[in-house]
């Protein structure tokens, strides 16, 4: 029997992190932004059925980049966690913070356990509040750390570049159309800075809208409504451009 090679813990962790990051980078990035009435999720997704964004509970939404089967598993775990907690206590006792903690523990345990391969996923858990101040957005990288984000966040392969683009341009109190158009611009920039076109049918868009009368605030934006929103901002930015030219 051969003696196993010694690998330092630092090296082992670095290798696992790189493995996970490479897996995540293979998929397309997605962004989550605050707008005046809530939180909008935008991503490029050619599939109509396999979603990157979904509802977890009344005010809580979920977004994930990376390996589909792994984040789908975590998503269902989250739905079970939230539903069981709401059933045992009360609907108000289900919070994004609680869910983000559970995800962080789960991802962290998997990441540091030698028996399992690390998950190649990066998650966002968002909760819409009564006012924009009450909104919460948590980013959960593959290693189980947890980052409390404000305004805008991007996850996935090209996340750093997109994040810095968004940080410079995102403002509080944007309308949904403005936030959506900013998100699409950010996503359609290539690494070398050139723009490419993402057609509406390849976009997956969902919102947590605090103005919805229902208890459940999550809503997908599809078809005509999506086209109208994309157009609405196209029109307003066109008029802005004209105004600028006139000046």
């Amino acid at each position: 029997m051969s003696t196993p090679f010694y690998v330092s813990p630092q090296q082992a962790m670095a290798d696992r992190a790189e493995y996970a990051r490479k897996g995540i980078a293979r998929g397309r990035s997605l962004v989550v932004l605050q707008y005046v009435d809530g939180i909008v999720f935008v991503g490029e997704n050619p599939s109509r059925a396999l979603h990157k964004f979904s509802e977890i509970y009344d005010r809580i939404g979920f977004a994930a980049a990376g390996k589909y089967n792994e984040y789908e598993n975590l998503r269902i775990g989250g739905v079970r966690y939230a539903d069981l907690r709401g059933y045992t206590y009360d609907r108000d006792d289900v919070t994004a913070r609680g869910l983000a903690n559970v995800y962080a523990q789960t991802l962290g345990t998997i990441f540091s356990s030698a028996a399992e391969k690390p998950y190649e996923v990066e998650l966002v858990v968002a909760e819409v509040g009564e006012t924009p101040d009450g909104d919460q957005i948590y980013r959960l990288p593959h290693d189980g750390s947890i980052v409390d984000e404000h305004g805008s966040v991007a996850v996935g392969g090209n996340a750093e570049q997109i994040s810095s683009y968004l940080d410079q341009r995102h403002q509080d109190g944007m309308t949904l159309a403005e936030a959506l158009s900013l998100a699409v611009q950010a996503l359609s920039r290539d690494t070398n800075g050139t723009q490419r076109e993402i057609p509406a049918e390849r976009l997956e868009v969902a919102v947590l809208d605090r103005t919805r009368p229902q208890q459940r605030k999550f809503k997908r934006i599809v078809g005509r409504q999506l086209a109208r929103l994309l157009e609405a901002d196209g029109a307003s930015s066109a008029t802005e451009a004209e105004d600028a030219e006139e000046e």
Binding site: V79, R80, D83, L84, G108
Partner: protein, 281 residues
């Protein structure tokens, strides 16, 4: 398996195991003691006294269905509660009204609502109306043990069938036996009287307004002859709960709307205590 809803530790394996889209199935594997049907009752003599809800009625009309209930809960000859709510939205396109043991019924509705919502979130699609009706059947069947000890729950389920484009009503017996009703249905102790009233007033071409008035008339007649059913309580401003489900989804009439219908029915009854008359032939 350890219950791990309180701590913020790692999700237990059961949460991450691929499996059914049913919340009840998940509960029965993970925390079966939380399921109402799994509860063991101590052997008791006679019937257990608990508040009972009484009359629920439903009527279809072209474009939807109306489900309504009175507000009284009784315990023996005592009025246990005057403003109980027995009609609940099950999801966006369906509602459930419950007669029988109030505590169990409310718990069952809560679990049923969650079951539908859970399926919708996991699968990304709604159950068919038929599927929802069958799910409710299973839940009543699991309550059979308690029903035999006098703690029965008998719901009326109504919804808008998006695929067929019409309102439908399902009634149940204590064993979970399910049957689809045509036009109108009622359950609970006052249901015999309500059904008589509806039989005389029902037509195929009711408008939504006529349908909501019809259910209030039927509930009035139930309260008139059944002591366990409460009529509109004008002094306390307690009116029946009336809900309408159409293509646009579930809507509960506001207190103003319900009071307006109830008051106009009451006014007519002051002149004509037996209510509207049907033609003899």
């Amino acid at each position: 398996m350890e219950a791990n809803t309180r701590s913020t530790g790692r999700l237990p394996a059961a949460f991450l195991t691929p499996g059914s889209s049913s919340f009840m199935d998940f509960l029965s594997e993970h925390q079966p003691e939380l399921l109402p049907g799994k509860r063991q009752l101590p052997p008791t003599q006679g019937v257990i006294e608990a508040p009972h809800g009484t009359t629920i009625v439903a009527v279809t009309f072209p474009g939807g269905v109306v489900l309504a209930g009175d507000r009284r809960a009784t315990m023996g000859n005592i009025i246990a509660q005057r403003d109980i709510e027995k009609v609940f939205p099950a999801d966006e396109y369906s509602a459930v009204g419950i007669a029988g043991t109030a505590g169990l019924a409310v718990e069952m509705v809560k679990l049923f609502q969650l079951e539908l919502e859970h399926f919708e979130k996991v699968e990304g699609a709604q159950l068919s109306l038929e599927g929802k009706a069958n799910r409710l059947s299973t839940m009543i069947r699991s309550n059979l043990g308690m029903a035999m000890q006098g703690l029965a729950v008998v719901p009326l389920f109504a919804g808008f069938d998006v695929d067929r484009g019409k309102g439908r009503i399902f009634s149940y017996d204590v064993t979970g036996g399910r049957s689809e009703e045509q036009g109108y249905a009622a359950t609970g102790s006052g249901s015999i009287f309500a059904r008589g009233a509806m039989k005389k007033l029902f037509r195929e071409d009711l408008t939504e307004d006529q349908a909501t008035t019809l259910v209030v008339q039927a509930l009035y007649d139930a309260a008139d002859d059944d002591s366990a059913t409460g009529g509109p309580d004008v002094a306390r401003r307690i009116y029946p709960i009336v809900t309408v489900i159409t293509e646009d989804g579930f809507r509960r009439l506001t207190e103003d709307e319900a009071s307006q219908i109830a008051r106009s029915v009451l006014e007519r009854r002051l002149e004509q205590p037996d209510g509207p008359r049907a033609a003899l032939l």
